[in-house]
Symmetry: D2
Subunit: 141 residues, 4 copies
């Protein structure tokens, strides 16, 4: 693990000034990260449930956090593929949590999976897999 929780949290806040929209870093380990998104009306969709894009945004940034924790602060790592299955209706006003785990980190590419939960419920509401492309000049610190 090349980056501390505090450094990554600070990095995400600086890089994504709009970041509260996507979620905040809660925990970080070697090859994984957990993020949390407090739900407000802007995250809801018809039917009063958490919107797909809110979950996709959280999944995407959680994987980004897990990857940067492993390879260092590489802002230009970008998602090339994301697949998500929506499994259950999330609770309407509960926060959602994402746990991202790396499945493989190569020289130019990384793959991981993310489970998303409604806070207080053990059954995942969504599951996503993602590929990130890692630019040649890696950490820029």
């Amino acid at each position: 693990m090349k980056v501390s929780f505090e450094d990554l949290k600070h990095f995400l806040e600086v890089q994504f000034p709009q970041g509260a929209t996507f979620g905040t870093l809660e925990a970080l380990g070697d090859g994984w990260a957990e993020m949390r998104l407090a739900i407000d009306d802007g995250h809801l969709r018809p039917g009063g449930t958490v919107s797909g894009p809110a979950m996709m945004g959280l999944a995407d940034v959680a994987m980004y956090a897990a990857l940067l924790g492993r390879i260092g602060l590489v802002p230009l790592a970008v998602t090339t593929n994301l697949n998500i299955n929506f499994l259950r209706k999330p609770a309407a006003h509960a926060a959602i949590r994402a746990r991202a785990s790396l499945l493989k980190v190569g020289r130019s590419m990384a793959v991981g999976e993310v489970f998303i939960y409604s806070e207080g419920n053990d059954e995942p509401v969504a599951h996503s897999t993602m590929t990130y492309s890692i630019p040649p000049e890696k950490s820029q610190k």
Copy 2:
């Protein structure tokens, strides 16, 4: 086509009061819809490019629009699977456009694909496929 452009546009504005975040309906045909998202700083990510979640949100709602144009105003149709490939770096401050086309509409499920473009450029920046689940009691008008 069961729904007019004006009715669908009105429906989306009422159902998604935060909708400008996702995009606005530009055109609607039998089995397809086009939406547009004006980009502001809240849609950018590190590197100054349009964020993945902004594109995923637009793709999702464009497919929703194409589907509702076909089956009627069924607010509770929900995405069950979304897959997206990010193909090229979008222009930083250009609006993005999505064109969604239905590939199949069944009784309880619909599948479609969405191409996303930076305005003024013919090469797609992203391509997405999606499955929507259609609830049993369809149109509620």
Copy 3:
């Protein structure tokens, strides 16, 4: 768990007389199944490695086994979506193993994930997620 290991193994052999091509059932639990595919030349691709389709076939049938173990012998359950990431080059002549786990089983739809390994290696060579559609008249016993 509605089906025993022996009953499911027998069912798969009868339903897929060509089944050795896809793999054989090795273990079955509540919500999961393990299958194994012995590799011969017909499963290789240029470069002398296990082909993508061999891994996709094994993933697909492993998920089918996990699902039927849970819901009963429903031959007409069909895959509606499959997504797979190829993570590492499999060993050329080692058997491959798949472990499928259900993420959600609903009334008409089930979602699961499958890890694939080269026998004797702990790092997955591929990871797949799948959706199965479950026909209305479920078990036919």
Copy 4:
């Protein structure tokens, strides 16, 4: 287009001696390829329909053909991600056809989409998107 129809057809037959299992090249253009798979009992699944793996194998090799037609005979190009939606039940004993189109060809990665049809029917039975990784030393002729 760097490769002729005849050269690619010959290449596929040599590289995949088991290739008839996956399909044969029918047409090739700049950025696209068409392949055909004659269905025998080995391609069927419970319910007497064409199996998912048969369609996935055809989709995979059709995209491989479209890519090699564009970049030259690079045997070690490998699939890194495949996503497929099964749309309709294929006819049981009709051949299936795949038309693959490239969406983007980069230096190290290519993305394309594939439509699969039952011969004699205009509505696609499946739709797939794929990412191929292109090895650094490209054509080896």
